[in-house]
């Protein structure tokens, strides 16, 4: 086998870049396409007299959601084939560049690795049958399936150790991660030379928040005042805001010029 030449490596890097850029662009195209199909489906229903609320109820029913997915899957298959035909020419280009440096088995291994990066496209149909949260996440990138699997495995292991259900473990993970970032921000705020720091309870204002969050949303209090408030689940409002799965944040209200409380 010949040694790998620098020019070959450069050519490989360039072609790989092109490949990944195209993969990313095509992923965007794919999701825009799916979104358009869904949109058309819902517009058609709206034209039949469905209200926004009725649409939500309609797609909330598993059997209806399945019907929509089936329609989308049929249309998506052709689109996917078209996308993959674009990858094929680039993979052939890579093969030509490397044909002197790798044997066939090495090449196959290399391409297998590269194919993993395109997992999202091959798993689109599978993901479409997942719930809407996953569908929403699907819009954002091409790493979903790999990570879903890893995290699900991790959680499965943990739930046995802690004697919790899968859902409970996810809640614990989500809440602990939020608490970590809250702590990081608080550590930063500690370093500020501001006397009597005030914090605002901030976050989404929709129909999901619990009464505790609704009550304190957009309120401004000092650290000691927030610490005195228990969310009734896990600790104080200062450390954990509304408790499990809370989506709200406690952020410093920056001192303004007219404040005379500064040191």
């Amino acid at each position: 086998m010949e040694l790998v030449r620098v020019d070959d490596l450069k050519a490989l890097a360039k072609t790989s870049d092109k490949l990944f850029t195209n993969a990313d662009t095509n992923t965007v195209k794919l999701f825009n396409y799916i979104e358009k199909l869904l949109e058309n489906e819902l517009i058609a229903m709206q034209n039949k007299g469905f209200t926004q609320k009725q649409l939500a109820q309609y797609i909330g029913r598993a059997d209806n959601w399945k019907k929509i997915q089936d329609k989308i899957n049929l249309s998506t298959n052709g689109f996917l084939k078209n996308l993959f035909s674009k990858y094929k020419s680039q993979i052939d280009e890579l093969k030509n560049i490397y044909k002197v440096d790798f044997n066939e088995a090495d090449l196959e291994k290399l391409f297998d690795e590269m194919q993993k990066s395109f997992r999202v496209a091959t798993d689109v149909n599978k993901l479409l049958s997942a719930n809407s949260l996953q569908l929403e996440l699907l819009q954002f990138g091409n790493v979903s399936m790999t990570f879903y699997t890893q995290i699900d495995t991790l959680i499965s292991g943990m739930k046995d150790s802690f004697n919790k259900t899968f859902g409970q473990m996810k809640t614990i993970l989500r809440t602990s991660q939020k608490a970590t970032f809250n702590q990081i921000r608080q550590e930063y705020y500690k370093k500020l030379n501001i006397f009597d720091k005030k914090y605002i309870y901030i976050g989404p204002n929709d129909s999901l928040p619990r009464p505790f969050c609704n009550k304190y949303l957009n309120q401004i209090k000092s650290e000691s005042e927030w610490r005195k408030l228990s969310n009734g689940q896990i600790g104080s409002a200062f450390d954990m805001q509304g408790g499990y799965n809370c989506r709200h944040m406690l952020l410093l209200v920056p001192p303004q010029k007219e404040d005379k409380n500064d040191k």
Binding site: F31, L42, F147
Partner: protein, 153 residues
């Protein structure tokens, strides 16, 4: 943020400023400006606005229906589980600058940074971007803080 010092007129008539004090004041004002910008960004997101203080484009019809089903706000606000926005923090700070960003992954293993990057690029819902609006607001705040700190030192 770094050019805002240019607009500060420090009178030197009869007053000697200790360079170390000025340096300390700049650092302190910069720290406060970091906290200011962080709160500003989260407020913009919750008001359904981008880094230019402009309303975000409405969600698509199908996504609105999904959000309604879940009981979520229909005004775009960068939040579904809120994992991404909740991870917004000051990632690093040195004498001359600070970096604000999102970090970690959500409970499904999705990178928050990747989510934000894709949201900004695909949806054009941009939040972490050095717009004139944010630059001016933060620079003004930095300047006012610096004057306050120098006045009381």
């Amino acid at each position: 943020m770094t050019n805002s010092l240019m607009s500060i007129n420090v009178t030197t008539s009869g007053v000697l400023f200790d360079p170390k004090k000025i340096e300390k004041a700049i650092n302190e004002a910069l720290m406060n400006a970091g906290a200011f910008l962080l709160t500003e960004l989260v407020m913009l997101a919750n008001q359904g606005k981008n880094a230019d203080n402009q309303p975000l484009q409405p969600y698509s019809l199908w996504y609105q229906a999904i959000r309604q089903m879940k009981g979520l706000n229909l005004t775009p606000n960068f939040q579904f589980t809120s994992s991404m926005l909740n991870s917004l923090t000051i990632l690093s700070k040195n004498d001359k600058s600070f970096t604000i960003g999102v970090a970690g992954v959500d409970v499904n293993g999705m990178s928050n940074a990747l989510k934000l990057e894709k949201t900004q690029r695909i949806k054009n819902y941009y939040l972490l971007r050095a717009t004139n609006y944010l630059a001016k607001k933060t620079a003004d705040y930095f300047q006012s803080q610096l004057i306050d700190i120098l006045n009381r030192s």
